[in-house]
């Protein structure tokens, strides 16, 4: 029998909650290719590819086996996607859609946000438990936290092969990091341990080390494009790559509070406080030689961070390139030329620094 599963639109839905309620979490990611059914309802240039594909799949009946579609409030487009899907059901556009629910996780620093998030996390658990008939105890939740934390520790071991002297390319390691969200923790740890053993035997990779920032990517296509020029992507902003592990979920009397706190602070996306992303980015700059800023056409958020980032990079003499294309499409010839020039500059600087 197929394992019961829940679809989520962004990895800000706690996997621990989903698993404790008896489901497997399946997270939506973008892909190239047309979305003609979704295009009838979603305006162009606003929704990222992952949401267009989610709506396409939803409206063409491909998600009918899911127990629920969970949409977190961690971006405005996700929230709109929730409203659109509910409207499509109301208007009879589709009937083969599992119930769509909103996980209303807020991420601002307001005094009342923490308590609100804890209550909404509890409501999510109650909703999922009511479908599965499996109401987890606090100890069940703690056990899921321990399992996921073990997977987080494994993901951090992978990150060690990227920092300072990289032994693995971004293209290779990104899918491994991303798998944190969907693999059972024990399988994830085993997969990482196997990969880590292999990486440990490798010699250091040569080439400028690149940080990929801007809008988070959910696939390795941009890594592949950047690395085709001889660079190594050693970190990327967002929950699918360097941010997959994040901090461990802390021990707390109430595991739901601990989970709500973790995901509010750690789930990188459009509503993550700008200072948090600035802080993370600044911390990465000591160990990179160049930076690629991805600002796709639907970006409404991360472009605001660009002037300050550019000024910081210029002050530190770190070359950078800003890409405005869709992450699922190959960069243009002009963008490839820009990448080439940036990496050439970074190589020269790297050689000068290291003799």
């Amino acid at each position: 029998m197929k394992e019961p599963f829940v679809i989520a639109s962004w990895p800000s839905v706690p996997v621990e909650i989903v698993r404790a309620a008896g489901f497997r979490a399946v997270f939506v990611r973008g892909a190239p290719g047309p979305t003609p059914t979704a295009d009838r309802h979603l305006e162009q240039g606003i929704f990222p590819g992952r949401l267009r594909h989610l709506v396409e799949s939803a409206l063409t009946g491909r998600l009918s086996d899911a127990a629920r579609i969970v949409i977190p409030r961690t971006s405005d487009t996700d929230y709109k996607c929730f409203l659109y899907l509910r409207e499509c059901v109301r208007r009879g556009v589709t009937s083969a859609l599992p119930a769509v629910i909103l996980f209303d996780l807020l991420q601002s620093c307001g005094a009342h946000v923490g308590a609100y998030d804890a209550a909404r996390t509890r409501a999510l658990l109650d909703e999922l438990a009511s479908i599965s008939g499996r109401t987890p105890s606090a100890d069940d939740l703690r056990q899921e936290i321990v399992r996921a934390n073990a997977a987080r520790a494994a993901a951090r071991r992978l990150l060690a092969f990227r920092r300072i002297v990289p032994r693995v390319t971004g293209t290779e390691v990104f899918p491994l990091l991303a798998a944190f969200w969907e693999l059972e923790p024990e399988r994830y740890v085993a997969a990482v341990d196997g990969a880590a053993s292999a990486f440990a035997k490798r010699s250091a990779l040569r080439g400028p080390r690149v940080l990929l920032t801007g809008a988070p990517v959910d696939g390795p296509e941009l890594h592949r494009a950047i690395e085709s020029h001889g660079a190594i992507v050693v970190a990327e902003v967002g929950p699918w790559g360097s941010g997959a592990a994040g901090d461990e979920v802390r021990q707390h009397d109430d595991p739901i509070v601990a989970l709500a706190d973790k995901y509010r602070a750690d789930a990188v996306g459009a509503r993550t406080p700008a200072a948090s992303i600035r802080h993370w980015t600044a911390g990465m700059l000591d160990d990179v030689d160049a930076v690629v800023v991805s600002l796709p056409p639907e970006d409404a958020v991360f472009g605001w961070d660009y002037p300050a980032l550019r000024d910081m990079l210029q002050a530190r003499g770190i070359p950078h390139v800003c890409l405005r294309g869709d992450q699922y499409q190959a960069p243009t010839a002009e963008e490839h030329a820009q990448l080439d020039a940036m990496i050439s500059t970074a190589s020269t600087l790297q050689e000068a620094r290291h003799g």
């Binding site: 606003i46 709109k80 409203l83 601002s108 307001g110 970006d299």
Partner: protein
């Protein structure tokens, strides 16, 4: 720009200029604090604390109307802010961040003591943080929980059943957040907050919006539209920023009386009216002449925009035993009703029928991504209701890519082929 048909429109414009001059004097000469707010923040709390408040959207519309926006947008472009970022909510920031780029109206904004924004769209946190930083001022954010229950005919619940309109957890969160805001305002003003005064203020806001409801009815039912949409907006918005004040209520009544007199006398904004148009979306602030451009040629008059219509349906709250909860219920979903499914399409179709609309022009905003959502649902609902739709692609404050002649030609063709047949 067409000449003003109503005396109250001239008075409203004069009031705003005078009000802003007074604000600058109070801030510069008397060192009084003021606040910069997103339009959907509850202004009443600031006014009751003795802290005058300037609306970001109003300020942006002023800059655009004075034809200064392109200079500030060029400065944003030159600084590396890409062209797909929202320009409406950030024009005010640009006028602060790039002070030499253009000439802001009436001497420009003084430094506020506080900025405050509801975190509706994702970009608001960014824009207001940058703006607060540019001023060296404090920022208070009101987070925006998402609605899980979606009552379709929201305007039927808002007045008397507002507790049913917003889920209890969202309402409680919004009350707590507004209470925290009040604490900040008390600390800034040194004045204790008076809940009875809030109740009285909200009662006055109700009265003001009831007056606008009467104006809306006059416009909907008069044989011909008595007041141009642009003049509706000037009169309504001048009062909404100081809603519930003595001047606002008096002005609303004067506006209603003037409209009533025109109806009684059979005076129309566009005599011989043949087409009644609605404008769906924010105003085209850099080209307001667009809205009167089809009167003489086609006898087509813009009758409806959200600015007047939303007042009665969005603001009125009866049952003010807990005024903060009433205010929170208004704030919780405020502008979502104007854009998102299921609320916007249902309301706009209802309004179109009430106003005997013969054609709708729906804004496709170029850079305001969040305001651009829900548009396809709205367009489809209007067409299904038998109301022809013409999408208008434009940025409401950025005139640089606006081809006014081409847009007017498109409307003329729309009128001739779909509306006036």
């Amino acid at each position: 720009m067409a000449e003003k048909q109503l005396d109250t429109t001239t008075a409203a414009s004069a009031f705003q200029k005078q009000w802003f001059g007074d604000l600058r004097r109070r801030v510069f000469d008397e060192r009084q604090p003021y606040a910069l707010l997103q339009a959907d923040v509850p202004f009443e709390l600031f006014d009751l604390a003795g802290i005058p408040a300037v609306s970001n959207q109003w300020w942006a519309s002023m800059i655009a109307a004075k034809r200064q926006a392109p200079q500030f947008f060029d400065a944003m472009d030159a600084d590396g802010l890409h062209g797909d970022l929202c320009r409406y909510c950030s024009l005010g920031y640009a006028s602060t961040r790039y002070p030499g780029a253009g000439e802001p109206p009436w001497g420009g904004l003084p430094t506020p003591r506080l900025l405050c924004a509801r975190l509706t769209c994702d970009c608001i946190h960014r824009v207001f943080e940058l703006w607060a930083d540019a001023f060296g001022a404090e920022l208070f954010e009101i987070d925006h929980p998402g609605a899980g229950d979606l009552p379709v005919r929201w305007w039927e619940l808002g007045r008397h059943q507002w507790r049913e309109l917003v889920e209890p957890h969202r309402l409680a969160f919004m009350v707590s957040t507004l209470e925290s805001l009040v604490e900040r305002l008390e600390a800034i003003s040194g004045r204790a907050f008076d809940r009875n005064a809030l109740r009285e203020r909200l009662e006055l806001v109700n009265q003001q919006e009831e007056v606008f409801d009467q104006v809306r009815q006059l416009i909907a039912t008069a044989p011909e539209c008595p007041v141009r949409m642009t003049e509706q907006i000037t009169n309504v918005m001048a009062t909404q920023w100081v809603r519930g004040s003595e001047w606002a209520l008096a002005h609303a009544r004067a506006f209603r009386d003037e409209v009533q007199q025109r109806v009684d006398a059979g005076v129309a904004a566009c005599p011989g009216e043949r087409a009644r148009l609605m404008w769906v979306g924010a105003g085209l602030w850099h080209d307001t002449a667009f809205y009167t451009a089809f009167e003489s040629s086609h006898r087509a008059v813009f009758v409806w925009s959200m600015y007047l219509a939303f007042g009665p349906d969005g603001y009125i709250r009866y049952g003010l035993d807990d005024p903060m909860a009433a205010l929170a219920s208004r704030t919780a979903s405020f502008n979502e009703y104007l854009h998102n499914p299921p609320w916007a399409a249902e309301w706009i179709v209802h309004q179109a029928r009430e106003h005997r609309i013969s054609g709708a022009l729906v804004l496709r905003p170029r850079s305001m991504k969040p305001a651009g959502t829900g548009r396809l649902f709205i367009e489809r609902a209007l067409e299904e209701a038998g109301i022809p739709v013409l999408p208008i692609e434009a940025d409401v404050v950025d005139a640089r890519a606006w081809d006014g002649d081409a847009a007017r030609a498109g409307v003329r063709s729309f009128l001739e082929t779909r509306v006036l047949q």
